[in-house]
């Protein structure tokens, strides 16, 4: 048995109100490729942030033993000094700098006061060769593709004398060929340099291909570590570990709602990325939703769910949008969110702080924002009516706040989500698209949000609920679409759905991947 390079012992990390990691143990041997798998929110990235010092020593409990000694990293610099280098999911390269400049950013070559550019580029070329990239180190980052950019990240890590390389979803924005090349490079580094690597990935086929050991993380705990060197591990075995929790009565029963006619239908919907115009983020998607129905769209992050929703909602995302959108059986073209709202659509964003609410405004003004017409005459706002409306929704959704004059920025996540829901309920749409409606809020508030969703269905609205939480999708939906890598890869009745067969839909598609969550 090889020497243990890294051991993380009973790591516990709590944020206000949430236990993100609960007594996690991880052991990585020198020279192995170790995979961390788990659902979104399971705690993988938090664990790696603890390891690399992003969450400094003292902010967590437990010990990190690296190379035989207990470490106390206070920041990223500390961990990098020891040779622990993390490559994040979103590439951290600066587009208008050269490969060489990027590689030695913060690690400049030359004397203390003067950068030696000849040395910089010579060194850069050396490492680029190591990762098999033939481009000159003087090429600008913006001129090379994402696959090559990922290689530059690895070269950059090597230049820092990495001993332990952590790759967080390295292939999430790569196509199949580039992904395979990257995985092969990992194997090569392992073989030729004895590099130790930790890879975080959703793509189980890649994990099986590259990893020596697989650790499954679920709900902030390590569930098990599987050794794929000694035995072949089927993907279904991994999935079982990932989803192994039981669905209990975390979801309120829906009163028997008669499901009506098709309210909205999308046919052959295709959307391209706004910046990388050749990349399809939504590929030939056809879905529909009926009156009184809750339709779940399950998919991992980066599957293209948000892109689908936003492109339907008045083309607020993407370019080159093609396909048909039918409302009440009639084809419509909605060129702006304003038109989409007028046509009876509502998009409740996953990013409530970023594009859902105005944090510096009151609950009152946020509530009425999408339907100012209803509280104004000839552009004059009836402030009494506005107050009344906001107060009504506050009571209806049980938003916890002393007054609707309170600034939204001062509310907790769950209450902010309620304000966001109130805003779109007041707009009185026929179809509500809820994007991750329970992200970042506590269990109690989640239950209340589920009740609101049921009430909406009861009131004859059509609800599309996008979620990356399996139990939520199964527990709340009448029907489920499964989306992966820009395509709909499965559709099933909620009564037929199990966590395992949903996951197999996703795994069944293979390794081709495009698009990332905007």
């Amino acid at each position: 048995m090889a020497k243990v390079l890294l051991e993380m012992k009973s790591i516990t990390k709590t944020f206000p109100g949430v236990k993100a990691l609960d007594n996690v143990n991880l052991q990585v041997e020198e020279g192995e490729i170790h995979a961390l798998v788990g659902e979104n929110g399971a705690g993988k990235s938090t664990l790696m942030n603890v390891l690399s010092g992003i969450y400094p020593y003292g902010s967590y409990e437990g010990d990190i033993v690296y190379d035989g000694e207990v470490c106390a990293f206070h920041n990223i610099k500390d961990s990098e000094k020891k040779g622990i280098v993390i490559i994040h999911q979103e590439l951290a390269l600066i587009p208008y700098m050269t490969i060489g400049e990027n590689m030695f950013l913060g690690n400049e070559q030359g004397s203390k006061w003067c950068i030696d550019w000849n040395k910089t580029y010579a060194e850069a070329d050396k490492y680029l060769e190591m990762v098999g990239l033939s481009d000159s180190s003087k090429t600008l980052i913006k001129d090379i593709g994402t696959g090559k950019q990922q290689l530059v990240e690895i070269a950059k890590a090597l230049a820092k004398n990495a001993r332990l390389l952590i790759l967080d979803e390295p292939t999430s924005s790569l196509n199949e060929t580039d992904s395979r090349a990257l995985l092969d490079l990992m194997k090569k580094l392992q073989k030729e340099q004895g590099m130790t690597m930790i890879i975080i990935s959703h793509k189980l086929n890649e994990v099986s291909y590259v990893a020596d050991k697989i650790t499954v993380v679920r709900d902030g705990s390590t569930i098990e570590t599987l050794d794929s060197k000694t035995e072949e591990i089927p993907e279904s075995r991994i999935i079982k570990g990932m989803v192994g929790r039981e669905i209990t009565d975390r979801f309120p029963k829906r009163h028997d709602v008669p499901i009506g006619d098709v309210m909205m239908e999308v046919k052959n919907w295709t959307v391209f990325h706004p910046e990388f115009a050749e990349r399809k983020v939504v590929d030939d998607v056809s879905i529909n939703v009926r009156r009184g129905e809750v339709v779940g769209i399950y998919g991992l992050m980066g599957a293209g769910r948000t892109e689908l929703a936003m492109s339907i909602f008045g083309r607020s995302y993407g370019i080159g949008i093609s396909g048909k959108l039918l409302l009440h059986g009639k084809e419509v073209t909605l060129r702006s969110p304003k038109k989409a709202i007028a046509a009876g659509l509502a998009y409740v964003t996953e990013d409530r702080k970023g594009n859902g609410l105005v944090l510096t405004n009151s609950i009152k003004t946020n509530t009425t924002l999408a339907n100012l017409k209803a509280i104004s005459k000839a552009t004059f706002i009836d402030k009494d009516k506005e107050y009344q409306v906001a107060d009504e929704y506050k009571q209806k959704l049980r938003t916890k706040t002393p007054s609707v004059e309170q600034l939204v920025g001062n509310l907790s996540g769950g209450n902010q989500q309620k304000v966001l829901l109130a805003k779109w309920m007041f707009a009185d749409p026929d179809v509500l698209i809820l994007d991750e409606p329970t992200r970042g809020i506590d269990v109690g508030a989640k239950y209340e949000i589920y009740c609101i969703i049921n009430d909406l269905a009861k009131a004859g609205k059509s609800v599309i609920m996008i979620s990356s939480e399996l139990p939520e999708v199964i527990g709340m939906s009448d029907r489920i679409y499964i989306m992966n890598q820009a395509k709909i890869v499965g559709e099933m009745k909620a009564s037929d759905a199990t966590q395992e067969n949903i996951m197999s839909c996703i795994v069944g598609v293979g390794a081709e991947s495009e698009g990332s969550e905007a």
């Binding site: 993100a20 990235s45 702006s336 594009n355 859902g356 944090l359 924002l369 100012l372 996540g413």
Partner: protein, 431 residues
């Protein structure tokens, strides 16, 4: 639940209280000179342009802390163009005013288009105007006049933007006991405005109470009305008694005392502009759209607001108000010259900032801007009356501006802490 508290009221009105304190301070330091009719009147007359440009700048800043640097130069240009139309080309007054307004609309539309649709950063697009219009205006004035200034504006033109109305002797009255002349229409206007404010205050309160909404206590509404009414009445009294007294020799050898009082035209313009923009920002969906774009542009877009149109209108509006300010400034000096409008953009921006308009957009009010502009004006005038050097006045104004921003940011700090906490929570969920 009632959230009314004296503390909140004081917090909200810190700048107004600061203004009052500073005004009293200068009144004492100048032995009452600061509070004299002529000084109070000239404070408003001289700074009229700041209030008007400030209203436009407020609309720009609301959309996200965007500013217009070309205001001063364009004001100079608009004045020169007005002079060319009206004085050099002898075009009649209504038509030349329309033409100048047209010039403003054209510039505003181009600027708005560049900023909203071509996405040029506002300060760069307006920096170009800042440079170009100053040069253009100077060239025009040099070409058409030996003194590089256009004067001889028609009285018709001047009376629209300067001077007084209700100046006839029938409107003047002398309080014999005090030896004080007063202009009656000016006082009547003040009394009417006071009455209107009191009625509106109490009616709003009554309406709220009737519908069972959160309402301030009656005594507070009364105190508020008294303060607001007193300010208006004092101002109208000051303007009313600000006329000149001249003596005319009559045929029978006696001398007749004639009082030249009236309501300044500029004041009427100010009331109109400030009321209009006050209502727009506070009461209408238009104002709400501006605030939302500044508060969170992405949210605004996804809520069905046309962000680009909002930006376009902000700069179109700014140019129109600049034209109005140009006419007022030109009329005040009866001349259009190449030095008009220097640093006016900075005065307008400073008025907004001191008046609590957020430098990041999304919040601010006309009344705040007015208080800000007045506060700077009072410091300016008070120190001048104390015969303090101009350089020192600039230093003090700079420090006041800084203090106002620091106060603004620090008083919001409590809220920031909460934001940080929640964003950490968010991270966990994403991990």
């Amino acid at each position: 639940m009632n959230t009314f508290s004296i503390k909140n009221v004081l917090k909200k009105n810190v700048m107004a209280i600061a203004l009052l304190v500073i005004f009293v301070f200068f009144t004492i330091m100048t032995k009452g000179l600061m509070f004299s009719s002529s000084n109070v009147a000239s404070l408003i007359d001289q700074k009229a342009y700041v209030y008007i440009l400030g209203a436009g700048m407020l609309m720009c800043m609301l959309t996200g802390g965007n500013i217009d640097l070309s205001v001063g130069s364009f004001l100079c240009f608009a004045g020169a163009v007005a002079g060319v139309f009206s004085v050099i080309w002898y075009i009649n007054t209504p038509l030349s005013l329309l033409l100048v307004l047209g010039v403003g609309l054209v510039y505003g539309a181009i600027l708005g288009f560049l900023i909203a649709y071509v996405r040029i950063p506002p300060w760069i697009a307006t920096l170009a105007g800042y440079l170009a219009f100053r040069g253009l205006a100077t060239q025009i004035l040099v070409k058409v006049s030996d003194t590089s200034a256009i004067s001889n504006f028609s009285p018709e033109f001047l009376h629209l933007f300067s001077g007084n109305i209700f100046t006839s002797p029938v409107f003047q009255v002398k309080l014999q006991k005090l030896g004080l002349w007063l202009n009656i229409p000016c006082l009547v206007l003040g009394v009417l405005a006071t009455a209107a404010i009191v009625v509106i205050n109490f009616m709003t309160r009554a309406k709220k109470a009737k519908k069972g909404y959160e309402a301030e206590p009656v005594w507070f509404v009364a105190v508020k009305s008294v303060i607001e009414g007193a300010i208006i009445l004092i101002l109208s009294f000051k303007f009313s008694s600000n006329g000149d007294i001249v003596f005319e020799d009559l045929a029978d050898g006696s001398r007749l005392e004639v009082y030249k009082g009236g309501i300044p035209v500029v004041v009427l313009w100010l009331i109109g502009v400030l009321l209009f923009y006050g209502i727009i920002t506070e009461k209408t969906t238009i104002g709400r759209h501006f605030m939302t774009v500044g508060g969170n542009a992405e949210t605004a877009k996804l809520s069905g607001i046309n962000n680009k149109l909002v930006m376009f209108v902000a700069y179109l509006n700014m140019s129109v108000l600049t034209v109005l300010a140009a006419l007022i400034v030109t009329a005040r000096f009866s001349s259009a010259n190449a030095f008009a409008g220097q640093n006016f953009e900075m005065d307008a921006i400073a008025a907004c900032i001191v008046g609590g308009v957020s430098a990041y957009g999304g919040s601010g009010s006309i009344i705040g801007m007015v208080i800000g502009a007045t506060l700077i004006g009072v410091i300016d005038q008070g120190m001048s009356l104390m015969q303090i050097d101009q350089d020192w006045i600039k230093i003090v104004k700079g420090l006041v501006l800084l203090a106002a921003v620091v106060f603004e940011i620090v008083s919001k700090q409590g809220k920031l802490k909460i934001k940080k906490k929640t964003s950490k929570k968010e991270k966990v969920q994403k991990a």
